[in-house]
């Protein structure tokens, strides 16, 4: 128990103490430099802890991955772009790529759209915290539990048997036959069934961030517009929405990246079978089922490259934010 007590003290007092002490210490160090040097050195001291962590935990493994993607299965020989050539000529990989496009488009539209709708509506009712909690709950569910929850939702039994799945029982109640949601491949229905699970989980994420930004809007601004006779839609279009754009860009970017990396839902619910595979699952298969780290690394690099357009969009976004403030 003594060890635990020490750990608890480190956890609660020591860790924040070290970090606050560091940033206070930077000012003491800066005093050693001349007044002209200080503004040049200071930002780097503030960035140093973050850059250290990012360098070790993300940049260093990424460089390793890029190099590995140019090597063969065993990692002994360089094979040039052969792993990439395999990726772009393999039917499964291209099908996974197509599914990821569906994921990116629909997960982003659904989560950000519904998240924005809820944030704005909930701002006008008395049961705001209850409504937000309900939307938030799925985010607190672990991935494994979410898989179980949605198996009960999508559960399919052949026609004539008792349907224990919520959705098929509901379909039965309105007189329609059961649907095998996770097997049906028409119009990629099974992929959409998986996207729905992820939407259920991540809408709370979009809502929390959008709502926090909404609360930062000066209420006097909205009151003034209402006093001038603007209706609620005009207040939303003219004031709220433009002020939320930077936040919506952040949320959308994060969700797009989440969609590109979509893995857990697919892995737990369909294992990527029946045309539901996605790039991240393909990568895990290459790593752990086939032991081909060359191909797995190439897939990871394709993921990295896929965000370049999103980053370009973000740069434009920062520039315009810079211009107005």
């Amino acid at each position: 128990m003594d060890d635990r007590l020490i750990t608890a003290i480190v956890v609660v007092v020591g860790v924040p103490g070290v970090l606050v002490g560091y940033i206070w210490g930077t000012e003491q160090v800066l005093r050693l430099f001349g007044g002209r040097m200080q503004p040049r050195i200071r930002p780097w001291l503030w960035l140093l802890p973050a850059l250290g962590f990012l360098g070790v935990f993300l940049v260093y493994p990424t460089i390793g991955t890029i190099i590995r993607s140019l090597q063969d299965k065993a990692g002994t020989e360089f094979v040039g772009l052969a792993n990439y050539a395999w990726f772009f000529s393999n039917d499964n990989a291209l099908s996974a790529l197509k599914n990821n496009v569906l994921w990116v488009v629909f997960l982003t539209v659904f989560t950000v759209g519904i998240g924005l709708l809820i944030s704005v509506l909930v701002d006008r009712v008395r049961y705001e915290s209850v409504a937000k909690s309900v939307i938030f709950v799925p985010l607190a569910v672990s991935m494994v539990a979410a898989g179980v929850i949605w198996k009960f939702m999508y559960e399919y039994r052949p026609p004539g048997e008792v349907q224990i799945g919520t959705l098929n029982a509901a379909l039965g109640a309105v007189g329609t036959g059961p649907v095998a949601f996770l097997q049906a491949q028409d119009f990629s229905m099974n992929t959409f069934a998986l996207i729905a699970v992820m939407t259920w989980m991540w809408t709370g994420f979009a809502m929390v961030i959008i709502s926090a930004a909404l609360k930062a809007i000066n209420p006097e601004l909205l009151e003034a517009a209402r006093m001038d006779g603007a209706n609620e839609w005009q207040v939303f279009r003219g004031i709220i929405f433009p002020l939320l754009v930077p936040t919506l860009a952040v949320v959308s970017t994060t969700i797009v990246i989440t969609a590109l990396k979509a893995f857990d839902v697919v892995y737990t619910m369909t294992s990527g079978n029946l045309e539901t595979d996605v790039i991240a699952n393909l990568m895990i298969k290459q790593m752990f089922s086939f032991g081909d780290f060359g191909r797995a690394s190439a897939i990871a690099v394709v993921l990295l490259l896929a965000i370049v357009p999103i980053m370009l969009f973000n740069i434009r976004q920062f520039r315009s934010q810079e211009a107005v403030r």
Binding site: M143, V148, F318
Partner: protein
């Protein structure tokens, strides 16, 4: 929180009927969304109180009508597991620092990105955000080797550091977006009054960013609390005494061979704390923190 809508003068504008209809619409849309979002979880909650045989024989709604035949056995089964209390404390020891460290480190960085001038600022920031896309799985093996050479495999420190690294790109991105939107005059007048950047950071930037820090704290807490992979790899076999709740519960499912009747109970037990955190941090999502600070 909601008083802005109800206290503003209403008589001045015509169209009370349109407004009443609008309010009904607001309530209807919210009610539908709440039902859709709640239904799947309610199904699992009801099933977690039913007999294992009943769960696979009939739908969860049968548990709500007589004969109820409900049981606490699934919960008793989970709570009776060896080391579940220790695993819970381990989860706390892992999650609290793995939430505090990335938020503070990200706040320093976000402040520098927002309010300090230096060369390559935008480029560096875009690189940081770009790191969001790095799949966690590709980092496991190199980092595991690194930890082994430092001799910290199996210790809480290893997981704190790893979660900080993985959580930082999002934390910096979100905080930079928010801090960058704070009014410039506040920081300029503080600097004219002779406040050092450290003072401005702790007295102005942090207090004004409270809503977004609360949001970030909730997410980081959740991701770490629900994480299985990182703990499994970096603590894993090296020191099973330090393993968190998620690993303990995953073993429960494996040992029962697809025993998901107990998983419902396990899921709700492990959800409890994140929900408490969400409820307690929710009061920070209030309107006008930024506005108040500007006026004061």
């Amino acid at each position: 929180m909601t008083t802005a809508a109800s206290t503003r003068p209403r008589g001045a504008r015509p169209g009370w009927f349109a407004r009443a209809r609008g309010r009904v619409g607001v309530h209807a849309v919210l009610a539908i969304l709440m039902i859709v979002w709640l239904l799947p979880t309610v199904g699992l909650l009801v099933n977690s109180f039913r007999q294992p045989a009943a769960v696979s024989a009939s739908g969860w709604w049968e548990g709500l009508t007589p004969p109820y035949d409900l049981t606490l056995e699934n919960y008793a089964h989970v709570l009776a597991r060896n080391g579940i209390a220790d695993a819970f404390i381990n989860s706390l020891f892992i999650t609290i620092p793995a939430t505090v460290i990335p938020i503070l480190v990200a706040a320093f960085a976000a402040y520098a990105f927002s309010w300090m001038e230096f060369r390559g600022r935008n480029l560096l920031f875009v690189v940081v955000v770009g790191l969001l896309v790095v799949p966690l799985q590709t980092t496991l093996i190199p980092i595991l080797r690194l930890f082994a050479s430092l001799g910290i495999n199996g210790q809480f420190l290893a997981v704190w550091l790893a979660h900080t690294g993985y959580g930082l790109p999002f934390a910096i991105y979100l905080l930079r977006n928010y801090m960058g939107g704070l009014p410039r005059e506040v920081f300029e007048s503080a600097a004219i009054d002779g406040a050092s950047p450290v003072t401005s950071f702790f007295r102005l930037a942090l207090p004004m960013s409270v809503p977004v820090i609360a949001a970030l704290a909730i997410f980081q807490f959740l991701f770490v609390w629900n994480d299985l992979l990182v703990s499994l790899i970096y603590i894993g076999a090296a020191n099973p005494d330090n393993l968190p709740l998620t690993v303990n519960l995953a073993n429960l499912v494996n040992s029962l061979g697809g025993g998901w009747q107990a998983l419902g109970a396990a899921a709700f037990l492990s959800m409890a704390l994140p929900l408490v955190v969400f409820f307690s941090l929710q009061r920070f999502f209030v309107r006008g923190i930024v506005g108040g600070s500007v006026k004061g």
